[in-house]
Amino acid sequence: MATTQYPSFVMKQAKILLLIAIVLLSLTLVSCSAWGRQSPGGWAGTTIHDGIIYVGTGDGRVVAINSSTESLEWDYPILTRTQSGGLSCGETSVATAIYGTPVVDGGIVYVGTYSGRVFALNTSARSQDFDSLQQRYGEWKWPVDDSAPSSPIVADLLLSGSNVYVSSSNGGVYSLDKRSGDENRKRGVDIPVLANKLWTSPAILDSTLYVSTYDGHIYALSVDEEGMLSSSNWSFESDAGFASSPVIYEDTIFLGSFDRYLYAVNGTIGGDKPMWKFPEEKPAGNWFWASPVISDGIAYAGCLDGLLYAIEARTGEKLWEFDTEDPIVTSPVLMDSLLIVVNESGTVYVFDLDGELVDEAIPLKTISIDAAVRSSFCAQEGLVYIRGEDNHLYAVDIDVGRIIWEIDLAVEE
């Protein structure tokens, strides 16, 4: 760029350069604030156990809410010391994002965090409001050492038998003893690293763990009696990456791909030919981001193009579809004979699977919660519990057809 001899021109140039600098500096500051933001986000969903709803909040806490009294039983903040990026962001203790929905078993709540930690929280200990984790109550954290290197955990944890299986952003799959949090790994043996990063949850069938990757593979890992993982010969390879976590139904693995198809893969043959791909002809309008649910031989799959599909699980034939008009980010949920679907704009659709559903389905109920929804949700005894992106927990009564209560999950200042 030429600089002229003329002072007024130089001044004009300097002003324009200053403008450019301001724009670029603004971008820098925006990126700094994004890296070091106070609200960690995450899309952890809800799970219900013995009348208590467990949920990861948008401000980085695990919260237990009594569904009858609508009151807070306990909460546990997940904090991480971090070195943030940017100009003025120093080391600080920040709340951590939680993407995986808590899993509950035997009074222990298991949750994976974006700081790369897995926490086992005892409901009794948490009710007593202890500051630190109580080993005597069976609480633990993995890795134990705060300074141990770890990669973000985005996927839901898988609890099976006496083990917790963890997909990590470092591409590794870890098997932890659910009682102690110890890694089920022989000394000197590396963990199986399957991809550059794993943001999808594993699925288990008998003693085989199936893991899908963003680079288009499904791998099978054998689990021995001590919970140790080892590679197996089975694998499946596709041209496009897999967007969703695998779901297993009668030896068949169902999962969505970035090429806008839903795949059904034979869990015993593997290879590179799926049993079927849906839609049969041209791809869907967007990715199948959420895992499908399968019941009575029918797969119910929500797509980011807003359509909910009912597909014959054996053949891949479309039975019916329904347009929710907004992306379906989270998996449908079955409650008795009801199929519940929530789209990203927060509209809850309820379908009666016992009714006549042919070609174009008509929902039994349509209820709006007026909040964006990206988190998985749970349903029990006619109530659906949904965490909105506004960090509120909504209880939706299917019979009444409206929200019966709503709780702000944010900590009061």
Binding site: M1, T4, Q5, F9, I16, L24, Y214, F258
Partner: protein, 242 residues
Amino acid sequence: MAVWYLIIANPILNVLVALTNLLGGSFGGAIIVLTIIVRLISWPLTKRQLNSTKAMQEMQPKIQELQKKYGKNQQKLQQEMMKLYKEAGINPLGCIWPMLVQLPIWIALYQAIMSALATTPESLLGLAQRLYSWDIVNQAIPLSSSFLWLDLGQPDPYFILAIIVGGTMWVQQKMTTAPTVDPRQQSTNRMMTLLMPLMFGFLTLMFPSGLALYWAVSNIIGIVTQYFVTGGWGYLKPRSPS
């Protein structure tokens, strides 16, 4: 904002992803090819700028004569120089436009890199709404951020790219900054020649290296085209102002 995404940000994002697929999954290669495409599109503006630079180089003896003649009368000097530029059909500010044209591309590219590399789960999900339904695009997702020693979604930790960006920008500036006899002007020129490379070198340390790669390649293309269009290294070679 919707217009911004429709017209600039989304096309750049999709072209980048499609190029990545064509180049066997190399996102860095796609950024380099995109840089070349952008430079080709902005070639008419660049050519005008280079011709202007060349004409200004050729006018240097006349400008220096004017400076000697009217050095003590700034107002008269300005008038005479304006007259000279007008006669030669040169707009001294014309050289700014290629840079300003590239500014929205930088912003869109920054957004595209952050979006395409999907460094957070939210950005991966957000990507779904911005990609076209082309097979070539969808089969490339998700992209690998590795290129040479760089993680294209993060700043270069070894400062190599900052040195390359700053260095190439300095060379480019130096090639086009005419010497002057006026001491005040000399110091302004010196400051301007240093300010931009330093600023961009610093920004390289702050921004994803994918964007810095665009700057570096763009500068190198700029130097090469400048060399061939203006016929040499311009004012980079030291010469006496008199």
